[in-house]
């Protein structure tokens, strides 16, 4: 029996030694610098591969890129420092960066960013890539957000079509437009993607901001007093009112309600639906600004950003990592992505190369809104995922008929508890 136990120990020891030597060997091996990039997977994956392959070919820096769904990437990143496996670069939603920055994962880019390049970035991109007084990431594009509209339906209903955000519909005009559209036979004038309430956390922001509401009080970094404020509650009551009036379908539907089934004349969707809308509706697919509901006209922005990790700096790879980030902002690399997803290039000089973004172009409204600085951001806070998860329930509940104040107040209390517990308000 003793022999068996001894043999088992020896086998285990030998196995451990083999595994350990394997990892030590790989760590000790030297060669050209390799930059590891983890990407939050999405429809642009192939384009990022194309961009990274091009950068690799032009710079000689070896790049290994791995693609993971958002949640998986988040979980992997959180534990990566424990095993020394943190990538050198990450490409992820800008809202995730504050959390990683707070955890010490993100390397500020202030010392690397050339003034000329920074001056070429549009204001909204500067806002979303800054956190805690530092440049923490770079972005190739920004989101374009306004109302997609079916021109023929608006004309048929006798609704004025605003040309710019400066002549956006007033509240009365907007409500009148919804009524006229309904009377002209459009079943549900406004489509808001109610089958995915989490997306409303972004898309409904222009309405929310226009009514003076917000998700977070930036002076306290808590939601109390903002999420359950009179203005925010009014914005959610307005959403519920539009549902009650059948301006928005109460039952779920899919996104082709606007462009294929033509059940709606307006769609509260962003640049990512460009291809579908133009392919199905042709010249009828136009952009109109979100209405002025009393507090001004707003759009919302935010995008996927590229960030350097502290691991890159710690491992002496910061220069190579920055080279990749800087090259990602080259016109060719930006256009590789934006030509595919229809987003707005982050640099003014690159926007000038896109026909659709010139005055009179189909997407010019997106550009004008961002350049004029009327965009609002979702809160940049380590508590993003907490707020995001709570808000998808709130939107779903309010559309389903729940009392807006109760839903918002309860959510606010739950979110603040998590923020305070984690010290994210300090």
């Amino acid at each position: 029996m003793k022999k068996v136990v001894l043999l088992a120990f020896c086998t285990l020891f030998a196995l451990s030694a083999v595994f350990a030597s394997g990892s030590a060997e790989s760590a000790a091996s030297e060669g050209p610098v390799t930059i590891k990039v983890w990407v939050s997977s999405g429809s642009e994956d192939a384009k990022y591969q194309e961009v990274l392959d091009r950068i690799e070919a032009e710079t000689g820096i070896a790049i290994t890129d791995e693609y993971y769904p958002k949640d998986e990437l988040d979980q992997k990143l959180q534990v990566s420092p424990l095993v020394g496996d943190t990538p050198d670069l990450i490409i992820a939603d800008y809202l995730m960066i504050p959390s990683y920055y707070t955890s010490g994962l993100i390397q500020p880019l202030d010392e690397y960013m050339p003034e000329e390049l920074y001056a070429d970035l549009i204001p909204s991109v500067k806002n979303e890539t800054n956190y805690d007084g530092h440049i923490v990431s770079v972005a190739q594009f920004d989101a374009g957000m306004a109302l997609w509209a079916n021109k023929s339906m608006l004309e048929n209903a006798g609704v004025r079509i605003p040309e710019s955000w400066e002549d956006a519909w007033t509240k009365e005009e907007f409500e009148d437009a919804l009524e006229k559209l309904q009377e002209s036979g459009v079943p549900y004038p406004l489509y808001i993607r109610q089958n995915k309430p989490s997306s409303l956390y972004f898309q409904y922001m222009p309405f929310l901001a226009s009514m003076g509401g917000s998700y977070l009080d930036e002076s306290t970094m808590l939601t109390s007093g903002a999420l359950d404020s009179e203005e925010t509650v009014a914005a959610f009551e307005y959403l519920q009112w539009m549902v009650d009036q059948d301006y928005i379908s109460r039952t779920c539907d899919y996104e082709n309600g606007f462009y294929e089934r033509k059940e709606s004349a307006l769609a509260l969707l962003g640049h990512w639906k460009y291809a579908d809308h133009v392919n199905f509706l042709g010249d009828d697919a136009i952009l109109v600004p979100c209405p002025d509901l009393g507090g001004g006209v707003f759009t919302c922005s935010g995008s996927t950003v590229w960030a350097m990790t502290t691991a890159a700096a710690d491992n002496g790879k910061a220069e190579e990592a920055w080279t990749i980030l800087e090259m990602a902002l080259d016109a060719e690399n930006i256009l590789t992505v934006t030509d595919f997803n229809g987003a707005i290039p982050s640099r003014v000089s690159v926007m000038d190369q896109v026909e659709n973004l010139q005055e009179g172009g189909r997407l010019y409204l997106y550009r004008k809104q961002l350049e004029d600085g009327i965009s609002v951001l979702r809160p940049l806070t380590p508590a993003h995922m907490t707020i995001y998860n709570a808000m998808q329930s709130v939107y779903s509940d309010v559309i389903g008929g729940a009392d807006p104040y109760t839903a918002l107040h309860n959510a606010s209390q739950e979110i603040d508890e998590v923020i305070i517990d984690n010290g994210w308000n300090n």
């Binding site: 029996m1 068996v4 451990s16 595994f19 350990a20 394997g22 990892s23 997977s41 999405g42 429809s43 791995e66 769904p69 958002k70 949640d71 998986e72 979980q75 992997k76 534990v79 424990l82 095993v83 496996d85 939603d93 089958n195 995915k196 989490s198 997306s199 039952t251 779920c252 539907d253 899919y254 082709n256 990512w272």
Partner: protein
């Protein structure tokens, strides 16, 4: 009087029947919904979602969701990964836990009571609370992104040890003694006598272990890198994001993912139920 009593008994039976059917519906309808939806288009699924139609094969039905997940979603690649990991894990699980259970249940040695107490205590410790420690150990052994790193760490499971311990404790010691008298070693007694007599408990552990690892998301999330050993739950998660949700593909993927568990259960149903009856596990 007797007639009234019979009527009352029948009424109770009827009410019980209705209740059983309702309870059965709670379990069957979601599965039915999943299978039915896997043949529908995204638009049809979402429009049917809040109505009874969700459970009925309405609208245009096709196999296109299945075709998409197999061709574009590389379903079989991830299926092969999950199957290999699950088979390896369940195999190791049965061997390791049964050996410990056998030792605790049938052999006499010092400190046995303490070890049994520790095993029972470990059973109430949530897996998540020790997952980081396991992660560090697996990394230090160079097992990240390998089949071994995915299959081995969860193989030792206190609840399964306890099941085997309970099972072996009830076995007659005379069997061991007779075999030893006949010249059999303890290892021989275990493999040649005890294990063949433990089929129901092995089936139970196999099914429960298979279900546990087949649907596990967290551990593969931490241990895998790239797509070499990517498992089905991780691939399923990739079918939805902030921008898109492929409902039809999600249901087709889930349907195919559920089939092996159903088949395994149907194959070992008899042993599974027999074992549950023997060990007194319910719910």
């Amino acid at each position: 009087m007797q007639a009234m009593s019979e009527t009352k008994t029948r009424a109770i039976k009827l009410v019980s029947m209705v209740l059983y059917v309702l309870i059965a519906c709670l379990f069957v309808l979601p599965i039915l919904y999943m299978f039915v939806s896997s043949f529908k288009t995204d638009t049809q699924i979402v429009s049917d979602m809040s109505t009874i139609k969700a459970f009925l094969p309405t609208g245009h039905l096709s196999l296109s969701n299945y075709a998409t997940i197999m061709v574009e979603g590389q379903f079989w690649r991830f299926f092969k990964n999950s199957a290999m990991i699950a088979i390896l894990n369940v195999g190791i699980e049965i061997v390791v836990n049964s050996m410990i259970g056998y030792a605790l249940g049938m052999l006499a040695f010092k400190g046995k009571g303490l070890i049994i107490s520790l095993v029972i205590a470990l059973a109430v410790v949530p897996t998540e609370s020790v997952i980081i420690n396991k992660f560090i150990v697996v990394n230090s052994m160079g097992l990240m992104n390998t089949i071994w790193g995915l299959a081995i760490p969860s193989a030792g499971y206190p609840m399964f040890i306890f099941l085997f311990y309970n099972h072996f404790k009830g076995m007659p010691m005379e069997l061991v003694e007779a075999a030893v008298v006949d010249g059999e070693k303890y290892s021989g007694v275990f493999w040649k006598i005890m294990m063949p007599l433990s089929k129901p408990i092995i089936a139970t552990v196999a099914i429960m272990g298979f279900i546990r690892i087949w649907g596990d998301v967290l551990w593969p999330t931490l241990v895998t890198r790239d797509e070499t050993w990517r498992t089905l739950p991780l691939a399923l998660r990739a079918l939805s994001s902030d921008v898109y949700v492929f409902w039809g593909q999600i249901f087709a993927f889930s349907s195919l993912m559920t089939l092996p568990v159903l088949v395994l259960f149907l194959l070992f149903q008899k042993q599974f139920i027999q074992s549950l009856t023997m060990t007194g596990i319910k719910g």
